[in-house]
């Protein structure tokens, strides 16, 4: 596969030529990453095969269940923080009751998928990058290739399935918990009745907010896996290389999540 013969920048002293080569190398990498994950996407029907089922199940568990503790804390606190801040402003106009709508709409549309995405990048994405990177530098990937086991099917596909299935669920979980956290502040600090908080939340939030948020989460799942697996599988240079690909997995995923998040928001809310 193309991953094995990456574009090599010839060593040249001319600065402009160097830029040119770097640009070419950049676009080649982007193309590779997209191709890699698209191939994995087309292989998803294979996940029901007997030999793949346990691996997919394990990845679902690792991505989903194992992320719940940290997500719970983050979601709850972000909900509370948001309610405190909006509460202060709304209280100036005696509009405390609208804190429910504010928290819910922001969480469903933007903050839910975004926060979940960042946390999953930092936990699951980095671990994929590090694991595949280590496998690459310790020749385990080559060993798979010689056994005619396609690393895309064996390693990338189960992780893609796990991330794309779990991201929407985890986002929903984040949404619910942070709205609950906001509710706690609204009741305890702002003196809004719980029922009024919920009514207000449902008044402003629409189904579209929920669906677009969950769709975003799905896309983020794809993107995280794309960056992490590509960085991992193109690792070079021992332990230092693994460190580098873990780092760039996190950094690149953050950026790509921000950018795709913006594009999707523009698309849905124009």
């Amino acid at each position: 596969m193309a991953l094995n013969d990456p574009y090599e920048c010839p060593a040249c002293t001319n600065l402009f030529a160097q830029w040119g080569h770097n640009t070419l190398a950049f676009f080649q990498q982007v193309g590779q990453a997209i191709l890699l994950n698209s191939r994995a996407l087309f292989m998803t029907p294979l996940m029901f095969r007997k030999r793949m089922r346990t691996e997919v199940a394990y990845q679902l568990f690792y991505t989903g269940i194992k992320s719940l503790p940290v997500l719970s804390v983050v979601a709850f606190f972000v909900g509370m923080i948001f309610a405190v801040q909006t509460g202060i402003e709304l209280a100036r106009f005696g509009q405390e009751v609208n804190v429910g709508g504010a928290v819910t709409v922001v969480m469903l549309r933007e903050m839910g998928p975004f926060m979940t995405g960042l946390i999953i990048v930092a936990s699951v994405g980095s671990s994929i990058g590090a694991q595949l990177g280590t496998m690459k530098v310790s020749e385990e990937i080559s060993a798979l290739e010689i056994m005619s086991i396609d690393p895309v099917r064996f390693l990338v596909m189960p992780r893609l399935v796990a991330l794309m299935v779990m991201m929407p669920f985890l986002t929903l979980y984040t949404d619910v918990l942070s709205i609950f956290g906001g509710g706690v502040i609204a009741t305890v600090q702002l003196g809004v009745e719980p029922a009024a908080y919920l009514d207000n939340a449902l008044l402003y939030a629409e189904n579209k907010d929920l669906y677009t948020g969950l769709f975003k989460a799905l896309v983020f799942g794809f993107v995280i896996n794309m960056v992490a697996c590509h960085q991992g599988l193109t690792t070079k240079g021992g332990a230092v290389g693994v460190g580098k690909s873990t780092r760039s997995t996190v950094v690149i995923s953050f950026l790509v999540i921000l950018i795709t998040g913006f594009i999707l928001t523009k698309f849905f809310y124009g």
Partner: protein, 256 residues
Amino acid sequence: MIEFRNVKKDFSGRPVLRGFNLHVRKGETMCLVGTSGAGKSVTLKHMVRLLKASSGEILIDGEDIQPLEGKALSSMREKFGYLFQSAALLQWLTVYENVALPLRERTKLSDGEIDRKVRHVLDRVNMSHALGKLPADISGGMQKRAGLARAVVSEPDILLYDEPTSGLDPVTSRTIDTLIHDLQSDLGVTSVVVTHDMISALTISDRIAMLHQGTVLEVSPPREFLASQNEVVRDFLDSQCISRNFFEEFPERILK
């Protein structure tokens, strides 16, 4: 069986193989020896197309493997078993699962048959006691032996060993040598063994190839190799205290 015709390989302009010619015959055991960085591992990786030559031809059973892709490449690779320098076991699978993996993925054997074969090869490499252990929990020598079991379990036609005895104690090294020798005589496989260890090379091989600066300096049977007048070969032998009378002096019971 395996033929390199004027193969050249460079990494970012730095030549590693420079006009490499080698012919491994069917059923023989060929040892590749040479100093560190001579290109031994690189040569092995070319045989299974983990690396692509910059120019030249590599023929396996008369077929040039350079242009192979997809299905054709996989079926070419199915002829091979490969023991990596670092063993390269999958860290999250037990020894047993690692050895079973090629059978599960490449064959349609029933679970019972797979179990029988896996236990059999693990028994042969003296690893029966460590079936359920993870690679991280066993020693380097045990990992090598598990890697060896994985390489041979699917009964390939050609076995490639990258330093099967490096990092092992001398006694275990000789056990591995015996194993390689037995596999070759039992199954009639063609083997290519990369090694620094001249005792291994002299005892198991039909022919020895000396690699030096990206070319094959000399290919000859062990006894002729010992008598070689080539300066590089002599240095290599002398540095390991291998005398010209190696075969007369070495204990018979270990030689087999």
